[in-house]
């Protein structure tokens, strides 16, 4: 056992300075006042007797100086952050501790604590048991700690307490500074994090049972030609056992839906929910299973869209393919007008121009089939098309059998346009968002086999869906959410106001999953669900690490955690100093000291 001092030179200097000050103060103490008495005979006799009898009187001044010196030395020592250390503690030196605070760390273990709590406990034990002079750098995989400055273990403990689990998904091993220190990574090994070599990984993984919602989407019904929107709930069993799961859907208007499923380990089942019975608005989807260790993915929210029909106006001189395809769409109110009858002021949701270019373009989204006069040298095969691959207008559309005889002249293309290129250097399909959404088809329907393709009505439905799609996202992930409305007020599921900022006409807030946010701007109101639908979270057992690390580990909890922290010697010294000050005060007033 030895006494460690963070800065012994400073402490020594402080102590010496304090002692000097005390000595000087005693030395320059003003002389006592002179009082004339009638006779000092009795006083002299008394003092002679006292000098013979009292040793304490002789020591009073020394005692006073001694108490003052002890107080000064103790306070000076306390200011140096002293610690009593044992020999084994001195072996633990500097370290960088990386905490995995990805979402799966919220998984409960058999002891009732989360993997994160175990990880924090492990880190705390490392810190507390380390040498007092050791410096620690605490980092995390979600980037909550930005600083790369190493601190004392007590500061490191404070930083550790500030960390929390992040569900934002963007986890990665932090960029490390070039530091000669032990490198410790505490993780459950589930998140796909590339760990550098020479890293000592401490596992807090323990197998757990979990069934969660890994996908939740809603269909407007346009694409599928259905009469009502439907919800698609994908439930995944991340457990190591077969699980009996109950999927429940509840919302306004409809009867609550409960569906029982049996899921094998690592398997998913998609359940289709008919939302016709439910009123427009938010719906709550839940999965229930026994001993679920990760409740965060057991709830999800979706919003049933407004069930009104979209008004589409086709301006054409006659196109049987378009008219037939549009007529087949149940959720579309379809009308055909001649090119001469075109009036940009007409009320419609979408214009489809067939080989017609209006002088005054409308203010609503447009689908334009351009006039194809340029004959290609050969028939164009679109077997190897590129770009526009993930655009919503081509979702589910297969163009491998598309053959084109005539293409149009290249139209005006802006920088933000997304273009489908075929085998020639002429754009086949352009989707762009300027002041409005527009899709331009660069080949003739008559000069191609596109109208005969099964993908043609899907393309039309996709295009109409995309054009009518709200700017407000249907679902958001956890983290930063941008809404294209200015100064909106946001409430969470519990009715609490959510702090939001306004930037460039957008409202920005931080979403916490699972939650359903109510956005209100003026009289308009809409909902945004934030769900934790992610395979990486639900599959809580996909760990690269073994599960033996947690055996025998005891979490102290809120009450017990402080027991790990040794009593601070500095506080003890300060307490003794305060007691001595009180003693000095008492003895002074009792005239024991001077």
């Amino acid at each position: 056992m030895s006494l460690f001092m963070a800065n012994p030179a400073l402490v020594t200097g402080l102590a010496v300075a304090s002692l000097l000050i005390i000595a000087i103060l005693y030395w320059i103490k003003p002389p006592p006042p002179t009082v004339v008495v009638s006779s000092s005979i009795l006083w002299a006799r008394l003092m002679r007797e006292r000098k013979r009898s009292s040793l304490l009187d002789k020591l009073r001044r020394l005692l006073s100086i001694l108490i003052a010196c002890i107080i000064a030395v103790f306070i000076a020592t306390a200011s140096g952050g002293p610690e009593l250390i044992s020999s084994e503690e001195s072996e633990i030196k500097d370290a960088t501790i990386v905490m995995d605070n990805s979402g799966t760390m919220a998984t409960l273990t058999r002891g009732g604590f989360t993997r994160w709590e175990h990880a924090v406990e492990v880190a705390r034990e490392i810190l507390v048991g380390s040498h007092p002079s050791a410096e620690f750098l605490i980092l995390d995989t979600s980037g909550q700690i930005v600083s790369r400055v190493a601190n004392t273990k007590w500061k490191a403990l404070e930083e550790l307490e500030k960390l929390s689990i992040s569900f934002e998904g963007n986890v990665q091993y932090p960029v490390l500074t070039d530091r000669d220190a032990r490198l410790v990574f505490i993780s459950d090994g589930v998140s796909p994090i590339a760990v550098p070599t020479m890293t000592e990984t401490i596992s807090v993984f323990e197998p757990a049972e979990n069934v969660g919602i890994t996908s939740l989407t809603i269909s407007s019904g346009l694409s599928e030609f259905a009469s009502a929107p439907r919800g698609f709930v994908q439930v995944t069993n991340g457990s190591l056992n077969v699980k009996e799961v109950v999927v429940g859907v509840s919302g306004l208007g409809g009867k609550n839906i409960r569906e029982s499923l049996t899921l094998k380990p690592d398997s998913s089942v998609t359940s289709v929910i008919d939302l016709e019975e439910f009123q427009d608005g938010p719906l709550r989807v839940s999965v229930t299973s026994v001993r679920d260790a990760f409740p965060k993915d057991d709830l999800a929210y979706m919003v049933k869209p407004l069930s009104s029909k979209s008004k589409v106006t086709l301006v054409t001189s006659g196109n049987v393919y378009l008219e037939s395809a549009l007529e087949a769409m149940s959720n579309v109110e379809f009308s055909v007008i001649e090119t001469e009858s075109y009036d940009p002021m007409d009320l419609t949701d979408i214009y489809i121009f067939d080989r017609f270019k209006p002088e005054i373009p409308p203010s609503v989204p447009t689908l334009e089939f351009l006039i194809a006069e340029q004959f290609s040298q050969d028939i164009v095969s679109v077997g190897s098309y590129r770009s526009l691959g993930d655009h919503p207008v081509l979702r589910g559309v297969t163009l491998s059998d598309l053959r084109i005889e005539k293409v149009s002249s290249p139209p005006f293309i802006t920088g933000d346009s997304e273009i489908l290129w075929g085998d020639i250097e002429t754009p086949l399909l352009i989707a762009q968002v300027l002041d409005k959404k527009s899709v331009q088809v660069g080949f003739s329907l008559e000069g191609s086999n596109f109208p005969l393709q099964p993908a043609f009505p899907i393309f039309l439905a996709n295009t109409i869906d995309w054009m009518l799609e709200s700017d407000v996202p249907a679902f958001v992930k956890q983290g930063r959410v941008v809404i294209p409305t200015d100064n909106a007020s946001i409430l969470d599921l519990d009715g609490n106001s959510v702090e939001a900022n306004v930037l460039d006409g957008h409202t920005i807030f931080h979403a916490i999953a699972p939650n359903l946010y109510s956005i209100r701007q003026g009289s308009d109101r809409f909902w945004i669900p934030a769900n934790l639908t992610n395979y990486n979270y639900t599959l809580v057992n996909k760990s690269r690490l073994n599960s033996g690390a947690l055996s025998g580990m005891v979490i102290k909890g809120d009450d017990g955690s402080n027991e790990l922290i040794k009593p601070n010697l500095w506080s003890l010294l300060v307490s003794i100093s305060l007691l001595l000050v009180a003693l000095e005060w008492f003895t002074y007033h009792r005239r024991i000291t001077v």
Binding site: P31, P32, P33, T34, V35, V36, V37, S38, S39, S40, I41, L42, W43, A44, R45, L46, M47, E49, R50, D57, R60, R590, R591, I592, V594
Partner: protein, 308 residues
């Protein structure tokens, strides 16, 4: 304001200072009246002496004739009846000498009112009553020796002289009762009542001085004066105490226990004087200057030593 002295002279009070003002003189008159009520029939100025003489007015006793004595004093009538030579003895009639010693050392000039002023008032009161009783009053101011004295005075007309003497007294020097008594009683003095008004803060102690009085067979009445603050001094934690007589400086660190010890020592000092006096059948009175002096004088009278 006029004061009528025993000689019926009008005394201009402007000549006297505030020590013996009109108020004081009224108090003296009062004290005189009270003293007469306290000891009726004994205030005629004539005090019987224990000494027996062969001549006188008041017959005392017979004694046998001793060869060589003057035969004129033999009572021949008794010889004829008894056939024995007997001499008639008479009580000597003598006035009582009162020696009032006033401590005029520097230590008496302490307090407000000072111990010295208080002592002078007591002395003035005693003089007044003594002179009114036809006693022979001596006033002696002493410090390290006899400083000033007013030899024996008798009669009411001496009151003003004694007051003047007291007025003129000043404090100075240290205290030595031994030297003072030795200096005074070394010349032949009649036995009488010695009144010592002092704080008895004598570096050489009081015992030797009192022993000397006993040697001279004097009767003593000790009036021990002290200032309240002398017994209960208000001193800071650490103090340099300067002796007003000797000029010596004593460094003292005041503690509650030290203060207790000091008070005990102060009381023990007073007690030792009182014990000594009682042992010798002498009178002793201990008072602080806050006590009204007339109360003190009455207390002296009640002890029955001053008035006989």
């Amino acid at each position: 304001m006029k004061f009528q002295n025993p000689k019926n002279e009008h005394l201009d009070m402007e000549r006297a200072n505030t020590l013996f003002d009109d108020e004081f003189l009224k108090k003296l008159e009062y004290l005189n009246l009270i003293s007469k009520q306290m000891v009726p029939g004994h205030l005629h100025g004539e005090h019987r002496s224990k000494k027996k003489t062969n001549s006188g007015i008041e017959f005392s006793d017979y004694r046998e004739y001793v060869s060589g004595e003057d035969t004129r004093n033999v009572d021949w009538r008794t010889f004829l009846r008894l056939d024995k030579l007997l001499l008639r003895t008479f009580e000597e009639e003598a006035d009582l000498p009162i020696y009032i010693f006033i401590d005029s050392s520097a230590s008496m000039d302490y307090g407000n009112p000072s111990k010295f002023d208080y002592a002078r008032k007591i002395a003035a009161a005693m003089c007044y009553v003594g002179l009114m009783n036809q006693d022979r009053v001596n006033l002696i101011g002493f410090n390290s020796g006899v400083d000033k004295q007013l030899s024996a005075r008798r009669g009411k007309n001496q009151v003003w002289n004694t007051f003047q003497f007291l007025e003129a007294m000043r404090t100075r020097g240290s205290t030595s009762m031994v030297r003072s008594f030795k200096g005074f009683f070394s010349s032949r003095r009649r036995r009488g009542l010695v009144v010592v008004i002092s704080d008895f803060l004598d570096p050489s102690g009081f015992e030797r001085a009192f022993d000397m009085l006993r040697h001279y067979r004097q009767d003593l009445f000790a009036v021990h004066l002290y200032e309240t603050e002398e017994r209960e001094p208000k001193l800071p934690d650490e103090v340099l105490l300067k002796d007003s007589e000797l000029g010596t400086i004593e460094r003292v660190k005041i503690t509650p226990s030290l203060m207790d010890s000091y008070r005990e020592l102060f009381d023990a000092h007073s007690k030792s004087i009182e014990v000594y006096c009682k042992k010798n059948g002498w009178g002793y009175i201990n008072t602080s200057t806050v006590t009204p002096f007339e109360d003190l004088v009455l207390q002296v009278f009640r002890q029955g030593r001053f008035l006989k």
